[in-house]
């Protein structure tokens, strides 16, 4: 089993190497004057369709994004429990099925409550 993860780890190294090399290639080509490098203040200013930039880009965002992320985490944890259950359901039989039904039902109560209270709406 660990040999398989050895493959995964080494593929990770190869993938990082590939991506970094791809990004270093233009730097090398710039060194031998194939890729141009003529920065000027206008060119490297923030692109906003020609307008002057007002304020910073790093501004406070809508709180609603955070709510969706919280819902997502709760459901993601539910899903993690589903994987081993799904693999073994044939052996677990009705007992396992009802166990998972109750488990999901408890979480779905929260989801239905969110729907009823209209917080799933994007405003």
């Amino acid at each position: 089993m660990l040999a398989n993860y050895g493959y995964i780890g080494l593929l990770l190294v190869v993938a990082i190497f590939f991506a970094v090399t791809t990004l270093l290639l233009p730097l090398f080509l710039r060194f031998i004057h194939i890729v141009p490098h003529k920065p000027n203040p206008i060119k490297s200013s923030t692109y906003e369709c020609g307008m002057e930039t007002i304020g910073k880009a790093w501004v406070q965002f809508n709180f609603r994004y955070y709510f969706y992320a919280l819902m997502f985490i709760a459901l993601d944890v539910l899903v993690v429990f589903l994987y081993p259950w799904a693999v073994e359901l044939r052996k677990l039989g009705l007992f396992g099925f009802i166990g998972m039904l109750v488990f999901t039902f408890i979480i779905v109560v929260g989801y239905i409550y969110a729907w009823r209270k209209k917080v799933l709406e994007w405003k």
Partner: protein
């Protein structure tokens, strides 16, 4: 040093659990499959780019690229050379390191997915026991790369694009994963190779609703056109890669197509029976199915207009999620109560259930029309 001594015994146990060909065969296998994966990904993406541009040209009653090489076949090569010799612009106000690393962080997970995709029986880099869970886990890392791009650029359009990506990925992940679990229920394994072997009938017939949900959700996760709000040209220029040029932009472009290829390969493996098929060699079947799924994806792209952000969220949370949950438990009941039933009964039952559910949901729930404050 008392912590480390006992662990040596444990390591000896691992040694016995390894396959006998660990030293020599390991490196050969690794070298072979790394080359195969890189060649497969790059060649298929070149092909896909050409195929999509020509195909969309046809859909829009025009020719598409036809100047470079026969039928414009060398167009992707010309694009690659052009993009390589472009100037690399880094925004002065941005976070330089984050801006530079973002394409790498986005690209690496997309490539890593192919480690568990079986090209043929047993022909995959690593046949993990948790194959499909690995795919779900590793593909959730790409979002971080896209967010880094939005952040590192210090550009309002980029950041809005990145925020939309996060919201979209977060919303569509759950229905996608629930539909995958429907497949796992029938196959009884998480290993990609075992899932293919379990498909004497392609699972698209046993899981029609699951397939639809996976297809829609995956299109949203990889930001294909009906769901490409993060790079909506009419609203936010180019979204998260507004400030990218040259090779870094090319890497993001590559990520987009790598993810499309990954989704095609996963749909092929989970729902279309992978490399299985009569007469032709398995590898060819695999490639045919991947290209067919890709054709379906860009057919959808050229047919359906982009949807609005409130519709996007409502569709995920109020339509796909409940349908995926219902589908999951109906499949569970079938697995527990009717394990011996004839496949054709199950197929007709599932098709009927899918039709009823979709009609019911379309009556019961509407995506709001008219104007909405965003």
């Amino acid at each position: 040093m008392s912590i480390f001594n006992p662990s040596l015994n444990l390591f000896n146990c691992y040694l016995e659990a390894l396959p006998p060909d660990w030293p020599g065969g390991f490196w050969l296998h690794l070298g072979l499959f790394v080359v195969i994966i890189l060649a497969f990904v790059l060649a298929m993406i070149m092909g896909f780019i050409w195929f999509e541009r020509r195909g969309i040209g046809r859909f829009q009653v025009r020719l598409g690229p036809n100047r470079v090489g026969p039928f414009g076949l060398l167009q992707p090569v010309a694009d690659a050379i052009k993009i390589l010799i472009k100037e690399d612009i880094i925004p002065a106000k941005g976070d330089k390191w984050v801006h530079w690393l973002a394409p790498v962080v986005a690209f690496v997970p997309a490539l890593m997915i192919f480690a568990v995709v079986p090209f043929q029986d047993g022909a995959l880099l690593a046949d993990l026991n948790i194959g499909i869970l690995y795919v779900v886990a590793i593909s959730s890392v790409s979002v971080v790369g896209i967010f880094m791009a939005g952040w590192g650029s210090n550009n309002k359009f980029s950041l809005i694009g990145a925020m939309r990506t996060v919201a979209q990925a977060v919303s569509y992940e759950i229905p996608v994963v629930l539909s995958i679990i429907g497949v796992v229920l029938i196959a009884g394994s998480l290993s990609m190779n075992e899932i293919v072997k379990a498909q004497s009938i392609p699972f698209i017939l046993l899981q029609p609703l699951g397939f639809l949900i996976y297809f829609i959700g995956a299109c949203a996760e990889i930001n294909r056109t009906p769901f490409d709000l993060l790079e909506a040209e009419s609203e936010i220029v180019a979204g998260y890669h507004t400030e990218y040029s040259g090779m870094k932009f090319a890497l993001f472009y590559l990520v987009e197509y790598t993810e499309v290829l990954a989704v095609s390969a996963i749909i092929t493996t989970l729902f279309l029976g992978g490399w299985r098929g009569p007469v032709l060699p398995p590898v060819l079947w695999f490639l045919i199915k991947v290209v067919a799924v890709f054709f379906l994806i860009f057919w959808v792209r050229s047919t359906i207009p982009r949807i609005r952000v409130d519709q996007l969220m409502a569709f995920a949370w109020k339509c796909l999620l409940p349908l995926a949950l219902i589908n999951l438990f109906i499949t569970g009941i079938e697995v527990v109560v009717l394990p011996e039933a004839l496949p054709w009964t199950i197929i007709f039952l599932n098709l009927a259930i899918m039709a009823v559910l979709i009609v019911l949901w379309s009556k019961f729930f509407r995506l709001g029309g008219g104007r909405v404050e965003v």
